[in-house]
Subunit: 182 residues, 2 copies
Amino acid sequence: MRVLGVDPGLTRCGIGVVDGAPGRPLRMVAVGVVRTPAEETVDRRLVRIEEGIEAWLDEHRPEAVAVERVFAQHNVRTVMGTAQASAVAMLCAARRGLPVALHTPSEVKAAVTGSGRADKAQVGAMVTRILRLDAPPKPADAADALALAVCHIWRGAGNGRLAAAVAAHGRTAPRLPPGTRR
Amino acid sequence: MRVLGVDPGLTRCGIGVVDGAPGRPLRMVAVGVVRTPAEETVDRRLVRIEEGIEAWLDEHRPEAVAVERVFAQHNVRTVMGTAQASAVAMLCAARRGLPVALHTPSEVKAAVTGSGRADKAQVGAMVTRILRLDAPPKPADAADALALAVCHIWRGAGNGRLAAAVAAHGRTAPRLPPGTRR
C-alpha cells in the first residue's frame, strides 16, 4: 500500500510518501516540504498549501493519507496555523475519496522508535534506518511526514485486523456471559 | 458592496450575506447554516463544509468574505474544529480571488452593539434592527454571520480610507520632524 504522510504547518508542511506492507521492508517513494511565505495572508497561504498537496497527490497517487493529529493544548502560538493546514490536507484527501487517518505525535514516535517520548533526532535516525536512507531527511518536518506514513502502514495492519474482527462479530469487545461484570 | 460572513464551526457554519455601504441602509440578502453530521469523520465533514460554502458563493457572488477570527485560548474543546472550518471558508474565498477579512468576536460585537462584551441576545437584537428584519435570525450562528458581514461593511470603510492614505503617503504613521520622539 502507498501512504502519503503530512506533517501540517502553515510555514512548512512536511510530505512523505512510503510504499509497503506490515512485516515487509518499506520503501521511501518521495519526500519534501510545501512551504508558504510568511508575508502572505493566511487565506493565500492555505491556497498554496492546497496547490502543493494536490500536486503531491496527483504525482504519487497514494491509497491513504496520514495526517498528524493537532491538539489545542500544544504550542498555542502556532496551533491555529497547524490546525488550518491540517484541514486543507484532510480536505484534499477526502475530496478524492482517499481514507484519511490521524495519528498523534506520540503514536508516531512510539511506532518508529518504541517510545512515545522520543526526540526529533531519534525519530530521524529510525526513519533513516527503517527506509534504508543514506542520511536523515531534512528538515525535521519531512522526516516526521515519513514517520507518519510508516506509522500508518504498521498500525494499519492492526486496525485492519481489528476492523475485520468487528465486521465479523459486530462489536469491538468480546461477548461476555450474561451477568458477568467487566 | 456584497459581503458574505461566515461564523465557522464543524457542526454548524453560520452564513449571512449583506448588501450595502457605510452610511447607507444595509440589506440582508440571505442567511442560513451549513451543517455537518457529528457521526461523520472530520475529513468528510470538511468536504461537506466546502461544498456548502461553494454553493453559497456560487449563488450570491459576494465581493468579499468576512470570517470570524479564531483564537487558540477560547473554547479549547471545540477550537480545533472551528479553526479547521475557518480554514475551509478562507480557502474557498481565496481560491476565487475574493478578499478575505478576519474580524474578532469583540470587533464584531463592538461594530453592531457599541460594546465588545455584548451578549448573543444583544447582537441578535441589533442585527434585527440594522437589517430591519421581523425577528432575530436563528440559530445564533446565523445572526453572528450577518453581524460579521455588517461589521465588515462598516469597518471596511475605515480600512479603505486608511489604505488610501497609506497608498498616498507610503506609510501608516504621520511623518514627524527629525529628532522628534513619539
